[in-house]
């Protein structure tokens, strides 16, 4: 297996190209067959749903492969300025927090103080309304010798308090961190020279890297999803000058931020919205593909779902604006920037895509409603190369960076299980409904109530019923029924993982083990 992977890795660009062609061939075959197939209206409806789901998967697979192809052999190093000792520009290092545990904040501030960079001012932007948290913030700041900033009027959540703070800033750069993100001592020494080398560079983003991977399967899955994003995907976005800010572990040029009116306060993903503004104004961004900050990810299912609901709702609401901007001012971004923003903005529709792919085999097996009209020969000749090559390219690019199959699988399964949350949040965002800003719970000790798992129960039940129905009429159409039974079984397997991820949370597990 290792020899095969090595062989594949050496020719990855060729295989990526072949896989991309396979994706296109399958897509064309699907569209042609769909267009000419003689559907009843109900079949047509399911046919459209399936084709939509597949198109989504194909477009994003193609996007991944284009990135994987481009970054291979590309020069990812950006120019850096030589900064003379004693002439380092001033940087404001800030953590914005509201009702965060003091232990987590203290760790972060300790790592701020340990930053080697000499000309820095550390600020705690405290947005708490509860007096207890305010008192804790004051005590913490006094103990650590840093400044606390509070605003008079509360508006725009995290973006609002940073904007209020920026109004009085004298430093040239602004380093932003979430409450649980701990930079390494050389963070600013590494990043500031990039900003000094290019006046048109608005910000430098570094990866988010979760340290609590061994806390639970959810923590591992969430960390893997971050890894998938911050490896090939971000490196590809960087090559296309389309890396967007991820809200933390980033250093901004104050003048660039000010020129677009500060952080966008109308979106709960202010980072993504502000990046669009900066790019359309002609500013550049940079992704520094080395881990310089360690943090904590969600380690329970409720915490993970809250995080995903916020990110998806915010991203889709900005995506609507991006589409509008594309029609209004198509030349405001380059073609590849539009492509990257399209891929990023539409990513969270994956919940719908997964749902569509899931219900079509059920509809066929239970109600004899076909949605897929490819003959076995064409199916084998188009689907198998696309599916196997795409998976192989993905697995190879991840294993090259030392991720194991088990880790990748954990991340992918957790992402799939998020489908009900993503469906709801993206639907709300599409209709312009605002979601409440929810802070990701850190070190939470919670699990989802059994009643909240009803979407999984329903889908598992339907898939089981579909398999039974398929087995009962297997001889009618063995090939089609076997393929659909396979997919139904595959979906049961994915869905059943919800019980593993929602198992005993870390603290409870420890207590149970001790008992």
């Amino acid at each position: 297996m290792k020899k095969f992977l090595h062989f594949f890795l050496l020719r990855l660009r060729v295989f990526t190209l072949v896989a991309s062609v396979a994706v296109c061939v399958y897509f064309v075959a699907r569209v042609i067959i769909f267009s000419y197939a003689d559907y009843t209206p109900v079949e047509k409806l399911f046919g459209i749903l399936l084709l939509t789901g597949e198109t989504y998967m194909l477009v994003h697979a193609l996007g991944y492969m284009v990135n994987a192809f481009n970054i291979r052999g590309a020069d990812l190093e950006a120019p850096r300025a030589e900064i003379k000792k004693g002439e380092e520009p001033w940087v404001a290092v800030v953590v914005a927090a509201r009702h965060e545990p003091k232990e987590i904040l203290e760790e972060t501030i300790v790592t701020f103080r340990n930053l080697d960079y000499p000309n820095k001012n550390i600020y705690f932007l405290d947005d708490s309304s509860d007096q207890r948290y305010k008192d804790e913030a004051d005590a913490l700041a006094a103990r650590q010798g840093i400044k606390v900033f509070r605003r008079e009027e509360r508006h725009g959540a995290k973006a609002g308090i940073i904007n209020a703070f920026m109004a009085g800033m004298t430093e040239k750069y602004l380093a932003v961190f979430d409450a649980d993100q701990n930079p390494m001592p050389d963070f600013l020494d590494e990043l500031v020279p990039y900003l000094e080398a290019d006046d048109n560079l608005a910000f430098v983003q570094t990866p988010q890297f979760y340290s609590n991977v061994e806390a639970s399967p959810v923590a591992m899955g969430a960390a893997m999803q971050q890894a998938i994003f911050y490896e090939s995907i971000c490196e590809g976005k960087n090559l296309n000058s389309a890396m967007f800010c991820c809200g933390t572990n980033v250093v901004f040029r104050l003048s660039a931020l000010m020129s677009v009116g500060g952080f966008d306060e109308t979106s709960i993903t202010e980072d993504f919205a502000t990046s669009v503004k900066l790019h359309t104004k002609g500013y550049k961004s940079l992704y520094h593909p080395h881990v310089k900050v360690f943090g904590m990810g969600p380690d329970t299912l409720p915490a993970y779902f809250k995080q995903q609901a916020r990110w998806s709702g915010g991203t889709v609401s900005v995506f609507r604006r991006v589409i509008w901007q594309l029609f209004r001012a198509p030349r405001s971004l380059t073609f590849m920037q539009w492509v990257e923003y399209f891929l990023a903005g539409s990513y969270y529709f994956v919940g719908w895509a997964f749902f569509f792919l899931m219900i079509c085999p059920i509809a066929f097996l239970l109600f004899n409603v076909p949605s897929f009209f490819l003959s076995p020969e064409i199916y084998l000749a188009t689907f198998v190369p696309y599916f196997s090559l795409s998976l192989l390219v993905f697995y190879t690019t991840m294993s090259e960076r030392h991720y194991t199959l088990k880790q990748i699988y954990t991340g992918l399964i957790l992402g799939s299980l998020c489908f009900p949350v993503l469906m709801k949040s993206t639907l709300l965002a599409m209709f312009g409904k605002k979601m409440a800003f929810v802070v990701t719970a850190k070190g939470g000790r919670e699990r989802l109530d059994w009643k909240a798992l009803w979407p999984y129960g329903v889908m598992i039940g339907l898939n089981i019923a579909a398999i039974v129905a398929g087995a009962l009429r297997f001889n009618n159409s063995p090939y089609a029924i076997a393929v659909n039974m396979f997919w139904a079984a595959y979906h049961i397997f994915i869905l059943s993982n919800i019980f593993r991820f929602n198992g005993a949370p870390p603290a409870a597990a420890e207590t149970e083990a001790a008992a």
């Binding site: 300790v110 790592t111 103080r113 340990n114 701990n182 991977v213 360690f294």
Partner: protein
Amino acid sequence: MSVTKKELLKMIDDAIDLEEKSIPVYMKHINTALFWSGLPEWERKQLGIYLNMLAKESGKHSVKLNSLKKKIEQGGKDVY
């Protein structure tokens, strides 16, 4: 530039506190980096052992600073 005894003791206290709080934070993160390093398990274990030794060694800074603090407290000087 001079500092008073009180100021110096506060600076030492601060340094001890920073040292004690920093070590577990970086230990946690460096262990995670090791976890994702792709190194074979035995090598990771070995590096983990070295890391623990380093942490213990770093802890000695606090011991040194505490003894310095004691010396200053017992000393007769008011300005350093």
